[in-house]
């Protein structure tokens, strides 16, 4: 019993759970372990996976960002509208990334400089940005004029769709940033003890603003890829994304109290979320039930986080 507990709550606990779940699902669910389904599964987690990269930094530094879903939708809208207006896809993409980063910058400045609670601030910007997305399109979906835009999502490299490559590159980049750079270590230090980090010479305000800006930038990337996949800018896209992303991070061992995060964990967390959804689709489970399951996974993730900190907190 105790060794099982140790296995599940330890560093590799999540990987063990994941491997087990994967094995069981592969054996029991028909059509799961096929190349086509695997790529589809990865495609379906691209948005969550990309945004989770920076949400991990946000949570690790004891912050929180609820505005990611709105920012993804908004920057997707901007990408489509700007490329339609200018006739240049590149300009559209740039506009989307700039807008996403700007939302993040505003979040960061308000939270870090003016010391407003991150939950409240991003709850506010979540509404504001969603409102902007609706206003700019008058509440309707905006179709893409240039078919070249579709290629972002449709093109493949070595048989794997581009969005999956983008997600992979971001996983590697942010994994490196977290583990091998001063930026990553300072992020974890701020999460561990913000005041001690400041007194140890870390520029905490600037760090937090950077983290939120990166979060916004990455939302911009996710927004562009999403718009390309759904062939239009949808003001109501990515609703509830923040919850899936935070669930994936927490499931992946990122502590909500800050100071603890691992890229590998987050990737596994993202995949667990994806598999759950994929399996429910394959088994033809009604969409309504999927909400319940997603909620249950979040609860489970938080419970696991709690058990893990209790296990780690009791020092010998």
């Amino acid at each position: 019993m105790t060794s099982l507990k140790k296995l599940l709550l330890g560093e590799q606990g999540l990987v063990v759970i994941f491997a087990l779940a994967f094995a069981i699902v592969s054996l029991t669910v028909p059509n799961f372990l096929t190349e086509r389904n695997m790529l589809g599964l990865l495609q379906s987690v691209v948005t969550i996976g990309i945004v989770a990269c920076t949400m991990m930094f946000c949570l690790a530094s004891r912050d929180f960002d609820l505005s990611v879903g709105s920012t993804v939708a908004f920057s997707g809208m901007i990408a489509v509208m700007a490329s339609n207006a200018t006739g240049s896809i590149v300009l559209g993409l740039l506009a989307a990334l700039v807008c996403g980063s700007f939302v993040g910058l505003v979040n960061g400045v308000v939270i870090a400089r003016f010391r407003i609670n991150a939950l409240i601030t991003t709850l506010a910007t979540m509404q504001i940005v969603r409102g902007l997305a609706l206003i700019s399109s008058d509440g309707r979906a905006v179709g893409i004029n240039d078919p070249g835009f579709y290629q972002l999502a449709l093109s493949k490299f070595l048989g794997v769709p581009t969005p999956i490559w983008v997600m992979g590159v971001l996983f590697v980049t942010f994994g490196f940033l977290l583990n091998r750079t001063v930026f990553g270590k300072n992020t974890l230090a701020i999460g561990g003890n913000p005041e001690a980090s400041r007194l140890a010479g870390v520029n905490v305000v600037r760090m937090r603003i950077w983290i939120f800006m990166l979060q916004g930038l990455v939302c911009g990337i996710a927004g562009v890829l999403l718009a390309s996949r759904i062939t239009s800018g949808q003001p109501n896209a990515a609703t509830g994304l923040e919850l899936s992303v935070i669930s994936a991070c927490v499931l992946g061992g990122v502590s909500l109290a800050g100071g603890r995060a691992a890229m590998a964990g987050v990737i596994v967390g993202v995949l667990i979320m994806g598999i759950a959804e994929n399996v429910m689709n394959l088994l033809n489970i009604q969409a309504f039930y999927q909400y319940v399951v997603r909620g249950l996974i979040l609860l489970l993730a938080v419970l696991l986080d709690n058990l893990r900190s209790v296990a780690a907190g009791r020092r010998g």
């Binding site: 001690a196 007194l199 010479g201 870390v202 020092r315």
Partner: protein
């Protein structure tokens, strides 16, 4: 008198450590019983078992002959056993009175009886000689006042056994004196007090009997404290003789290293001026709230200065953040290690390298090998006791945590001014003298060191010069040859006439 509180063969092991093995001793009714030992000797574990927070592996606790079985802190509380920890457990946003009633608010039909709420508390506080407004929010109180409130809370529930864990570590001497008379009153009422402290003066001032723990074992039990000497206790604690824990020795002083002119800040309206020479250790003494830590924080750029110039080696330092100060060679080891010093959940290595790694991390990319070497160097140099540099800093004792924070600054190249606030608070005797030795070494290398301490013996023991602060001003500067307890205290007290009220035995030491 008979034994009231009995510990019988208490043992407790954690994975890898035997925290307590077969500890037995007993305390008479109405006695103040001292519990001493170095950090890691097992005091905290024993207190935790008494408080119901953890269960002993074997052994039992008896109170008035009855075996006590606690499943939780609440059980112990209901049995009249109250432990007051170093980290106070008050709700900052509630008033003093509300805190004292917490959990059993006086109410009629669910409506608070405000008169009783405030009235009873006001009465109790006056009775205990505690000058705190019952309607004040705890957040507005000083640490010392909060401590008083915490003790009042124990008295309110008629505790039979009160354990105090380092109660005076953050109290001024006047506040300590109020605490001591409070303890005297509790003793007269027959309450058993278990008193954990590193300060021998207090142990002799307060305790009737004493137990010394070492490495989880009973090192000595003295039923009558008047039969023991200080040196004996120290020897029992550390298992060896420590001749002179201060070990101060003179060293040549160089030119002016740090000059502070007209320094003021929001919490420090009166201009502060002083200089420190190369190789000099300047002490700042004062009561709690005299403005010493505020001064250090302004100097370091942790708080924003209103005015003033700080000059290091003739160059003006316009530090508006700790990061700038560090680059100018001014560093701070903060007063509250847990809150402002250590980064919990991170390793020793990371805690040490957090600032200095910028010197060997090109483009912000880490150099794990260099970081590891650096950690190993300072773990060895400062003699940090740890199984590995990867150990979470939270698992270290106070003294070792302080060494890691010192290591954080020593690994910076070219530190010129070291500010160290309460260098040995909560640190045991053995580690204390090690830390003093480190400070002497650094001074000998030309560093200007500013030591802030509330412990008069310590500040007189290790500094070359003392600046006394009182109500936000520097009240006196005294050179080592002129060090005199009464004179320093008199300068620290807001009203000179109060100096005579101060019980001398409390401040006498060495």
């Amino acid at each position: 008198m008979q034994d009231f509180l009995e510990f019988k063969s208490i043992s407790k092991g954690y994975p890898g450590v035997q925290a307590l093995s077969d500890v037995s001793f007993s305390v008479r009714k109405g006695a103040v019983h001292g519990l001493m030992g170095e950090n890691g000797a097992g005091k905290s574990t024993l207190i935790r078992i008494l408080s119901g927070d953890q269960a002993a592996d074997t052994g039992e606790i008896r109170i008035a002959g009855e075996q006590q079985v606690y499943k939780s802190v609440r059980d112990a509380f209901q049995a009249g056993v109250i432990v007051i920890h170093q980290e106070l457990q008050l709700v900052a946003e509630l008033t003093v009175a509300e805190n004292l009633w917490l959990g059993r608010f006086p109410a009629r039909a669910g409506v608070l009886d405000r008169r009783k709420l405030i009235g009873v508390v006001a009465e109790k506080l006056t009775e205990m000689g505690i000058e705190v407004d019952p309607a004040a929010k705890v957040a507005s109180l000083s640490i010392g006042e909060r401590q008083m409130v915490e003790i009042a809370k124990a008295v309110m529930v008629d505790a039979r056994v009160i354990a105090l864990d380092e109660p005076t570590s953050s109290l001024s001497s006047r506040e300590s004196e109020i605490l001591f008379s409070l303890i005297d009153r509790l003793r007269a009422n027959g309450t058993v007090i278990l008193y954990v402290s590193h300060r021998l003066d207090e142990i002799f001032r307060l305790c009737d009997s004493l137990t010394v723990l070492r490495d989880g074992k009973l090192a000595a039990h003295h039923p009558d404290i008047s039969q023991v000497t200080r040196d004996q206790i120290i020897a029992e604690m550390v298992g060896r003789e420590i001749a002179n824990i201060w070990g101060w020795r003179g060293r040549p002083l160089g030119s002016t290293r740090l000059q502070v002119d007209n320094l003021t800040g929001p919490k420090l309206p009166h201009p502060i001026n002083f200089t420190v020479r190369k190789g000099e250790i300047l002490g700042f003494f004062g009561l709690i709230g005299a403005g010493r830590s505020e001064m250090a924080r302004l100097l370091y750029g942790a708080d924003t200065r209103s005015q003033g110039t700080v000059t290091v080696d003739g160059t003006t330092v316009t530090a508006d953040s700790p990061a700038h100060s560090i680059r100018a060679g001014v560093v701070l080891c903060p007063e509250d290690r847990k809150l402002d010093g250590i980064i919990q959940g991170r390793s020793i290595e990371e805690n040490m390298a957090i600032s200095s790694r910028r010197h060997f991390s090109p483009f912000g990319i880490l150099n794990p090998k260099k970081e590891g070497e650096l950690a190993e160097t300072f773990i060895a140099k400062l003699r940090v006791r740890t199984p590995s540099r990867k150990q979470d800093i939270i698992n270290l004792s106070g003294g070792n945590q302080q060494k890691v924070i010192l290591g954080r600054w020593l690994s910076e190249q070219g530190v010129k001014v070291l500010l160290i606030d309460e260098p040995t608070r909560g640190i045991d005797v053995g580690a204390k003298s090690e830390i003093y030795e480190i400070l002497y070494d650094l001074a000998a290398q030309g560093m200007a060191i500013i030591v802030i301490s509330s412990e008069l013996p310590e500040i007189m023991g290790i500094t070359d010069r003392i600046a006394v602060m009182c109500e936000g001003r520097t009240a006196a500067e005294i050179e080592r040859p002129d060090f005199d307890e009464r004179r320093i205290l008199a300068a620290a007290l807001p009203d000179i006439s109060n100096a005579n009220d101060l019980p001398i035995q409390q401040v006498q030491s060495r």
